[in-house]
Symmetry: C2
Subunit: 346 residues, 2 copies
């Protein structure tokens, strides 16, 4: 499996995912601002990986101010937390991870620990968090693979693989597990996922890397493929799921869900519990990030649209729970009605 | 209105639509092979324009062999017809126009006309055909505009404007007529239409040219826009419509139709009678062109997908008649059931 991010005693080394598949560039940094910028610009992406990298961002930030007095240290920690928190609004893992880290540094401060001690505790916590997340993906992949049959063609949207999560990944982890561990014959149709092409750039990259047959399609071909009986199942990841089961994921997921529902094709969402927002009930309450029009109107730095044309660029959409066949979590396959089944997992 | 193709006494001058919006390059030729290649490579595109340009292609071909004996001339005309006929399989206008021209040259041969006389008749016929098509688009635009209300936001897919048709265009002609002639406030959401981006490159170009507000979206955003109540109507063109009302149009049209149907948004198809195939009943019998995987996997000459990944690239799909609210033809707005209403128009 690909390693999108590693921590090595005070340094984070991450793969710049905006350069894939053309170039495999790893960036090494001890500056939390580089991590924040990396998340903002999608060099680091995928809800679980955003959570992990934000946790290590906190570690880097703490190390930077290890020698200053405790009161100034507290202020700095708030600042670092705020900067990382402001990078992207939709994936809940960011806030989930930053909240876990915040409990650690606030507890440390309350106990009168010196910054150096707090920093050590933060390192330990983020290592533990990462290990837990990897373990979660392992279990999602293992459990979800039971849903795939020999000969299935799975359509997926965006990238919810090792690159998005570390470890096995979620949606793509399930496909990998079924193909590699269980030796099922699985083919994949990968939506290219405009505007940033995570499907053709990243998902196809991971599948080719593991010798699983993949065909890339333009997003608008999904309906055609389904109507021709070419898709047996849909599996996608999630950036945030409400306690009632509404799913925020990469823009276009909703379009795929409507199509799957119309063609009676099972639509599965692979999601770690860390991506479930137990405070939110309705999908319409999930904040949707609107990104720069430039991403739609330009490609590789070149304009592709008539000057004077505007653009919309919502980065996510919300799929209503009624279109979700099941959620696949580390605790197993969760059937609807999610308002009953999810509560028990809190 | 933009002029995508002009005939000037033995020369065709056409706009290379693959270069838009970056460059406005007109190509002049007296060689029918350049026309055939232009159609094949989408320099010339849009069902009605393909018909018109094929007709002029026949004129150019005839002029080339004007001095040879009649029997050789007949063989050459068959060859020219076959080369133009083999350019693209889906749009019926190509065959419709070539059949009209074939009647003219075959009649001439039967009557023992010299090639020079046949060539003159072909010039006259293609001028008349072009004039009729422009008149058809004028009437589609004028009649269809009645369906649009002040304040509407219309979603369209691909390009069915002046560039695709000459004259007013069809789907985009309706929008233009409502906005420019009837002074209705109309906004447009243009699907970018991957892989060749006719939406962002061509449709946005025409709308900006005529000061009509347009926002480009990636194809996968259409569901989101509809779910947010941002789309009041959908209007698209067609490459071929069966006598029962099934609609072949640019890949992705079917996805838009499923979405419109789910969101109870009217879905209109603007179509000249020349695009209706009165010999075909069922949409599944329309041949669907499969184009090179390269178009999906490359962008501006640069690979965007992992080496080793495959791709699907159907150029069209078929929207079933049940999802079409009405057809808009030069003879008026045709409601379902199309198996009854279309027959009378033959």
């Amino acid at each position: 499996m690909l390693e999108p991010l590693q921590w090595d005693n005070g340094k984070v080394c991450f793969l710049d995912q905006t350069k894939l598949p053309g170039e495999e560039i790893y960036r090494e940094t001890d500056d939390y601002r580089v991590i924040a910028e990396g998340i903002r610009t999608l060099q680091i992406r995928g809800a679980p990986l955003i959570g992990i990298s934000a946790a290590y961002g906190i570690c880097l930030g703490a190390r930077e101010y290890i020698t200053i007095p405790e009161t100034s240290f507290a202020l700095k920690m708030h600042e670092i937390d705020a900067i990382l928190r402001a990078t992207r609004p939709t994936a809940v893992n960011l806030f989930w991870a930053l909240n876990i880290m915040k409990q650690v540094w606030q507890k440390g401060l309350k106990e009168g620990c010196p910054p150096r001690e707090i920093s050590l505790r933060l390192d330990e916590e983020s290592d533990a968090l990462t290990k837990r997340e990897y373990n979660v993906n392992y279990n999602i992949s293992r459990r979800g693979a039971a849903l795939l049959d020999n000969g299935d063609t799975v359509l997926t949207h965006c990238n919810a693989g090792s690159l998005a999560c570390g470890g096995w990944g979620t949606a793509l982890g399930i496909i990998h597990w079924a193909a590699l561990k269980e030796k099922k014959r699985i083919q994949v149709i990968a939506d290219e996922t405009r505007p940033l092409l995570q499907g053709s750039r990243l998902t196809a990259f991971e599948l080719v890397h593991n010798d699983i047959p993949v065909k890339v399609i333009c997003d608008n071909m999904a309906g055609y493929c389904m109507s021709q009986g070419m898709v047996s199942k849909v599996i996608v990841g999630a950036d945030r799921v409400t306690v009632r089961g509404d799913v925020a994921n990469k823009i276009g997921t909703y379009t795929v869900a409507v199509l799957a529902s119309y063609h009676h094709i099972p639509f599965y969402v692979a999601v770690p519990l860390s991506s479930i927002d137990f405070r939110l009930e309705e999908g319409e309450d999930i904040p949707i990030e609107e990104r720069a029009a430039q991403e739609v109107l330009h490609f590789n730095g070149k304009s592709i649209a008539a000057p004077g044309a505007g653009a919309l660029n919502p980065a996510f959409d919300v799929t209503p729970r009624t279109m979700v066949t099941a959620l696949i979590t580390e605790r197993g396959i969760i059937p609807p009605p999610f308002e009953d089944t999810l509560k028990h997992l809190k």
